[in-house]
């Protein structure tokens, strides 16, 4: 390039421009490439491989046997149903507990909201294992909740709060709540308050303003958060494995057991494919609902 005369720089030919353009495009790709390669090699590649494996039998010929097994074995079906039920319950509890928090945070002045937000961020940043352990301590037979309830005379016998579904749901709700509150709060912050004043000035009562104006405007963040929570629950492993105490079996746990104990990759991958397809479908639904909303608004 150093041999180029000044006029040539001032008016480059179309060929020069095209070359420079190509050069730029390669440079941009080169910047993204390392990240892309890492994800391709560690995530996309192996999973595609496993997904292929799920369609093969022991001899290597094409079969749907692994999938038939999922839907024929009642034990597997039961696990799928448990996963679905627990995930729905957790999403539901996150909705009714999380919405008021995000709503209140949205009302507060920014500085106060930032302070209160720490109550959401701190658990969000704390290790899931630590939080699950805390709930194990709280919910155990002689745990804090049981001794507390006994001391104030509400119960005589300790309640079974752990190693069952209710313990799992309690622990998972605690872990998932920030995932709902944070996106919802961001949406609520961005709502233009003059719409509310407009509604009120036209004579709508506060509840009417909330349901007719505020709630629909908050729906994109709310639905997005709910779908995300639901999807995270579907593939959740740590909390059900520990708080469920072996009595609550979820998808992630049979995948782990199939590999660690039985080394049956075909079975594990077919369940994995089912999990992935469900995840993508729910995320797509969330995206679709949000898009539809935005067009309405």
């Amino acid at each position: 390039m150093s041999t180029l005369a000044l006029p040539a720089v001032a008016s480059p030919t179309p060929a020069d421009l095209a070359r420079a353009e190509r050069h730029d495009r390669w440079r941009r790709l080169a910047l993204v490439a390392p990240a892309l390669v890492l994800i391709g090699v560690l995530l996309v590649g192996p999973f595609a491989w496993l997904a292929t494996l799920s369609f093969l039998d022991a001899q290597g010929s094409l079969t749907l046997g692994n999938y038939e097994m999922i839907f024929e074995q009642t034990s597997t079906l039961k696990i799928l149903w448990t996963t679905f039920r627990v995930s729905l319950l957790v999403t539901f509890f996150c909705a009714i507990l999380g919405y008021p928090v995000a709503y209140l945070l949205g009302l507060l002045p920014r500085r106060a909201a930032a302070f209160c937000l720490l109550a959401v961020l701190l658990p969000f940043w704390t290790s899931i294992l630590v939080r699950t352990y805390a709930w194990m301590v709280l919910l155990a037979r002689k745990g804090l909740v049981n001794t507390g309830l006994k001391d104030i005379g509400l119960i005589d016998e300790p309640l079974r709060l752990m190693h069952n579904e209710s313990g799992t749901v309690i622990g998972m709700t605690h872990i998932m709540l920030p995932f709902l509150i944070l996106p919802l709060y961001a949406t609520i912050r961005s709502i233009d308050r003059s719409y509310l004043r407009a509604g009120a000035s036209l004579g709508a009562r506060p509840t009417t303003v909330f349901w007719r104006v505020f709630f629909p405007l908050s729906l994109p963040g709310f639905l997005g958060g709910l779908c995300f929570v639901f999807v995270l629950c579907l593939g959740f492993f740590v909390t059900p494995a520990l708080l469920g105490g072996g009595k609550v079996q979820m998808i992630a746990m049979i995948i782990e057991r199939n590999i660690v104990m039985h080394a049956s990759w075909g079975a594990a991958s077919s369940i994995g494919v089912v999990l992935l397809v469900t995840t993508v479908a729910v995320l797509w639904l969330g995206w679709f609902l949000r898009r539809g909303r935005r067009k309405d608004a």
Partner: protein, 273 residues
């Protein structure tokens, strides 16, 4: 309160309910801290006698010590690697602007959307063949992949307000693209990069499932040791480990918020290109 036509006492139920939920969010993990100082063989709240017994148990144990070292090395390496790869990718995407294929962003954020259990079995399957199981290299690569999207999203959102004309000026004055990036761009996004690195460190440090599959024995991470101990028989040492992990999270969240806030103040208001 912005919509002030509603008297505050009508909001009282909301304030009480939301306050209670926030309390329930914070308190459970904090309860572990006083319990970790109890002197008895069993953890109790409030402890009848106080001692540092379980902290001593942690520091005397070679199992916990080794696991802590592994976790720190993995976390720091992940933070370094993920912030380099993530920042480069974010800069590449920014340069592409609207021309960036949507598929690219989807691929780059995939580690966030794919259930971790699936990522874990995929990596395990690959590592068995590459003989990377139980290796630090394998652990760091896997964690870097998981942490990449966080750095990417943080840095990219800061770059959205960046005026690309600054780079054009630098390059027209003779700076090579790399030089222009390090002299003009990086100083303006450095806080986002640091915040991303902090998040990447924590992602690695707290990660359980991948570590469960690809580490073991003397190469276990701290979370893996914790998980096995919680599943099999609960060792009260976990209370002291948990308290220290909570302290670490608090320190990191403060650092993160500091850099996040600094970055937002430092970045000029988003300009049109």
């Amino acid at each position: 309160m912005e919509d002030s036509w509603i008297p505050w006492h009508r909001r009282l139920p909301l304030i009480l309910f939301a306050g209670l939920v926030m309390l329930l969010l914070v308190l459970p993990s904090l309860i572990v801290i006083p319990m970790s100082f109890s002197a008895g063989d069993y953890l109790e709240f409030p402890p009848r006698e106080w001692s540092l017994r379980w902290y001593r148990a942690y520091f005397d144990s070679s199992l916990w010590g080794e696991a802590t070292t592994i976790s720190f090395i993995a976390g720091l390496s992940t933070a370094l690697l993920a912030s380099i790869l993530g920042t480069a990718a974010a800069w590449g995407l920014r340069l592409m602007g609207r021309g960036a294929p949507p598929l690219l962003m989807m691929l780059l954020t995939m580690p966030l959307t794919v259930p971790v259990i699936l990522t874990a079995i995929g990596i395990f399957y690959l590592y068995v063949r590459l003989d990377l199981v139980n290796s630090m290299t394998g652990l760091v690569l896997a964690h870097t992949m998981l942490a990449l999207p966080f750095v990417l999203i943080l840095v990219l959102s800061r770059l959205q307000g960046f005026d690309l004309n600054q780079v054009r000026v630098a390059e027209s004055l003779g700076a090579k693209p790399a030089k222009a990036f390090f002299l003009v761009v990086l100083p303006q996004i450095r806080f986002a990069v640091i915040a991303g690195a902090v998040l990447a460190f924590l992602t690695s440090f707290d990660e359980v499932i991948v570590a469960l599959f690809i580490t073991g024995g003397g190469k276990s991470t701290i979370t893996r040791v914790m998980f096995t101990s919680l599943r099999d028989q609960v060792d009260p040492t976990i209370a002291s480990v948990s308290s220290m992990l909570i302290l670490l999270s608090v320190v990191l969240v403060v650092i993160f918020q500091f850099f996040e806030g600094r970055g937002q103040k430092a970045a000029p208001a988003a300009r049109k290109e």
